[in-house]
C-alpha cells in the first residue's frame, strides 16, 4: 500500500510517500503506525507515541482503531492549520 506523509511528518520521515507491504498481522491503522516505526529511526521519530498527528485511509479520516481492510493508501499528517 502507499503511505503519504505531510508537513513535519514528511520532513522527519524524509519522503512524501512510499510503497510498503505490511505483514498480515498489521490489521489496523494503529498496527500500521507501530510497524512503520520499525522501518527506520526517522520513521520512529516522526511517528513517535504521543505525537499529535492524524490519519486517513483512502482519503477518509481514520483513527488508530480503523481496520485497514482493503485500503490502498494511508496518510499521516499534523492537525490542519489553513485559513
Amino acid at each position: 500500500m502507499k503511505i503519504r506523509y505531510f508537513a513535519w511528518l514528511k520532513r522527519r520521515v524524509g519522503v512524501a510517500e512510499e510503497d510498503v507491504t505490511p505483514p498480515p498481522e498489521v490489521r489496523s491503522v494503529g498496527d500500521l503506525v507501530v510497524w512503520l516505526r520499525t522501518r527506520s529511526p526517522a520513521h520512529a521519530e516522526a511517528l513517535a507515541e504521543g505525537g499529535a498527528f492524524g490519519a486517513a485511509l483512502d482519503r477518509r479520516t481514520a483513527t488508530f482503531d480503523t481496520p485497514l481492510g482493503e485500503a490502498r493508501e494511508a496518510a499521516f499528517f499534523p492537525p490542519f492549520t489553513g485559513g
Partner: protein, 159 residues
C-alpha cells in the same frame, strides 16, 4: 458554488463581480479575506516576526474537503452564491491567503454561512503552515480556539 486552490494571487473585486453578475437573487454578500500577518502571537503575549509562510496542502483531497464544507453550508443556509479560493505555496507578510464569499437573499444567512465556512476550513481542510521567522522555520500548531470556533457550529439548533 466554486472552490479553488491555487498558487497565484486573486483579485477580490473581480472575483466578487464574477460571483454576483447575473444573479439578482442575492441581496447580501459577506466576504472574508485572510492575510499573512506579520506577527504571530504565542502564549498570549510573546510576538514573533513572520517574514513569510509556506502553505502546504494535499492536492486533490483539499479541493474535495473544501467542496464538502461548501456543500454543508448550502444545506444549512439558503445561499445563492459561494466561493472559496485558497492559496498554497510561499506567501510573504501582507499577502492574501484565502477568500471566502457568500451571497444570500438576506444578510443574516450570508454573515453566518461565511463565518461557518472560515471556521470549518481552518480545521477540516488539509492545509499546513510553515512560518519563516528570524529564528528559523517553524510549523504552525493548531489552536484550541480554532477547534472551539469550528465546534460552535456543531451545536444542535444552529441554523
Amino acid at each position: 458554488m466554486a472552490v479553488r486552490v491555487q498558487a497565484e494571487d486573486f483579485d477580490v473585486g473581480a472575483e466578487l463581480a464574477r460571483l454576483t453578475d447575473g444573479n439578482a437573487r442575492i441581496g447580501g454578500l459577506a466576504v472574508f479575506v485572510g492575510l499573512v500577518r506579520e506577527r504571530h502571537v504565542r502564549d498570549g503575549y510573546h510576538q514573533d516576526r513572520i517574514e513569510a509562510l509556506t502553505l502546504e496542502h494535499w492536492p486533490g483531497r483539499t479541493e474535495e474537503a473544501l467542496a464538502e464544507i461548501e456543500a454543508e453550508a448550502r444545506r444549512r443556509w439558503p445561499l445563492d452564491a459561494t466561493l472559496i479560493v485558497h492559496r498554497h505555496g510561499r506567501l510573504v507578510a501582507g499577502e492574501r491567503i484565502v477568500l471566502v464569499a457568500v451571497g444570500s437573499p438576506h444578510r443574516e444567512a450570508a454573515f453566518e454561512a461565511c463565518g461557518f465556512l472560515v471556521d470549518w476550513l481552518k480545521t477540516k481542510a488539509p492545509f499546513w503552515k510553515l512560518e519563516e521567522t528570524p529564528e528559523g522555520e517553524r510549523w504552525v500548531e493548531s489552536h484550541a480556539g480554532d477547534e472551539e470556533a469550528a465546534a460552535r457550529w456543531d451545536k444542535p439548533g444552529k441554523a
